[in-house]
């Protein structure tokens, strides 16, 4: 009996953190995705000078829960001529791949489900790319022309832009010299400078490619509602539709996390190795306190008693979070906990900013035509990212020749970035010269563009 108990304890010691993280992610992610949707709607409303959802809860704060309930109790329709089994499998595949990819990511130095895997970032990229099968098979199984068109467009788009995204990641990984996620962030700490600063071209390429990979506007051709009803999601309703939505937003979080880890310093605060900037550790607390105070100011303006109480509760929540964030700075807590709590804050803040950029671009840029999308991918992004890998390699060799390290490495990489920028401008002008007169090609007709 005794060895069995001991083995169980050992097992728990090894696995309780990953298990707990996994359960938290799977349980909380639908809620988080719902609130990302709310933020997106609010942002869209703000940019279009409207109020956005205001009815459910103060400032529409309970809207995601109402939406989720509505989707859950909707009728589940499976088209008669569809392939029922594949129709059932497709959304599950999408969500499964997206959630599994999250397992490889590290929110803080301690919060990681699959801890310290050697192939870290490749795992995340590879597994999340499998989500495409959910879209393709879902579009095919619906047995509808709009769905099939959406699925075809989606697979063509993903295959095209994955190359550019992969090349951008290669440029970042050249600096890190490892695939392990923890080691990548540690490399940025010891270098003292984020890899996004060292290679802004790679960051830009990854940003554009990741928008295309998550099927977001201005590249949301697979679900272009003005042409394809809703693309591959046309025949899906209720909970299955919600699963696709969950997968899409999870994928957004995944690409944002990958970009944060590789290019924006992961869970490190800005200038993590500069010690006279240590007062930045108080920034998380300050931010939460400010949000809480703002909520308190807004309390008297709420229309009803319930709304006022709710607003008070939100303010209280902000103060509690502020206290939690203050604790590791003031109290003498062991280092891993301190780095864990503050690190998670910085990581989530960066991910949120990246997502904000996604939304901003969505509400600013009009949708591309399909042949334009393909040309942007193949004639601009892929050559640019390959040139960038070359330039980064040369810069690194020059850096090691002159023994440049940390910030001094910028001396070698800045010329590379400038050359990359010139290459981008040349590529764009060549592109415009060759295609300005040409009408949409026959390929556009083929894809239904």
């Amino acid at each position: 009996m005794q060895p069995a108990v001991q083995a169980t304890m050992e097992f728990l010691k090894l696995y309780w953190v990953p298990l707990l993280c996994g359960v938290i992610i799977v349980a909380l992610l639908p809620l988080i995705a719902g609130y990302i949707v709310l933020v997106e709607r609010k942002l869209m409303a703000d940019m279009q000078v409207r109020l956005g959802p205001m009815r459910v809860g103060p400032h529409g704060l309970l809207q995601p829960i109402a939406d989720a309930l509505k989707l859950l109790i909707k009728e589940d329709i499976i088209p008669e001529n569809s392939d029922a089994l594949v129709f059932w499998l497709a959304p599950v595949l999408s969500v499964g791949a997206a959630l599994l990819a999250l397992a490889g990511l590290a929110i803080g130095p301690a919060f990681q489900v699959a801890q310290d895997i050697n192939i870290g970032i490749l795992f995340v990229v590879g597994i999340s790319a499998m989500g495409i099968f959910g879209i393709v098979l879902g579009g095919w199984a619906s047995n509808s022309h709009y769905s099939l068109m959406g699925a075809l467009r989606s697979s063509a788009q993903l295959v095209s832009y994955e190359t550019a995204a992969g090349m951008a990641l290669v440029a970042g990984l050249l600096f890190a010299g490892t695939l392990n996620i923890k080691a990548i962030v540690d490399a940025q700490q010891s270098a003292g400078v984020w890899f996004g600063l060292l290679s802004p071209v790679a960051l830009f390429t990854y940003l554009v490619a990741s928008i295309a990979e998550t099927n977001r506007a201005p590249f949301d051709l697979p679900e272009a509602e003005s042409e394809l009803v809703a693309g591959y999601m046309t025949e899906f309703s209720g909970f299955r539709w919600a699963l696709y939505f969950l997968a899409e937003y999870t994928n957004m979080v995944v690409v944002a996390s990958v970009a944060t880890t590789l290019f924006l310093g992961g869970w490190l605060r800005p200038f993590a190795s500069v010690h006279w900037l240590d007062f930045l550790d108080y920034f998380p607390t300050l931010l939460m306190v400010l949000i809480g105070v703002y909520c308190l100011i807004r309390v008297p303006k709420q229309p009803s008693r319930v709304h006022q109480l709710f607003m008070l509760a939100v303010a209280a929540l902000c103060f509690v979070v502020a206290l939690v964030l203050l604790a590791p700075v003031i109290l003498p807590i062991a280092h891993p906990f301190k780095a864990g709590i503050l690190g998670s804050f910085w990581f989530l803040l960066k991910v949120s900013l990246y997502l904000y950029l996604f939304m901003w671009l969505r509400f600013t840029l009009p949708r591309y035509r399909f042949d334009q999308l393909m040309r942007l991918g193949w004639h601009f992004l892929i050559p640019l990212s390959i040139i960038n890998v070359l330039l980064v390699g040369i810069a690194l060799i020059a850096g090691s020749y002159f023994q440049l390290q940390g910030w001094a490495l910028l001396l070698a990489t800045t010329p590379a970035a400038v050359i990359g920028l010139v290459a981008a401008i040349v590529l764009l002008s060549v592109e415009q010269k060759t295609h300005s007169a040409a009408a949409p090609s026959a390929a556009a007709d083929f894809y239904g563009g």
């Binding site: 192939i119 499998m130 095919w140």
Partner: protein
Amino acid sequence: MADKLIFYFFAAIAVGGAVLTVTRRNAVHSAIFLITSLLATAGVFLQLRAEFLFIVQIILYVGGIMVLFVFVIMLVNLDVSLQQLQFSRQKWVALIVALALAGQVGVMFWSAEKLPGQILPGVTAAAADRLPPNSEAVARSLFSTYLLPFEIASILLLVAMIGAVVMAKKRT
């Protein structure tokens, strides 16, 4: 023990998926089972502590090649393919080839038992915990020992790609 269980689990899925791939009449279902089979093979790689091969298998075969497969299959008219005869009539040739292959595998296992300390002829086992980090080891051998074959293979792929582009281009 757990290692063996995991291996047989993935191996069973891989073989089952492969059998279903060739027996399904619906091409998309075949593709789904082929994906299952490839994923199970990736699982076997992981069980062998070859995590780099595991993820390359997923990225290249599942995420790259199979997406293109499914892309093409979706455009095929399934009603026509359902009418066609599925298996070719070269039964006897197939039987002879299969028997020869089975014999080869059998001889390999038989000779492996004769030579103690070796898993397969010419392959020595390394302890799993003493394997170097995979991706580094693969990169090192690709870019030092096998540099020339690697470059030749790359050139071959490039030629194939350019050839495909030239053939696909419209003649004006």
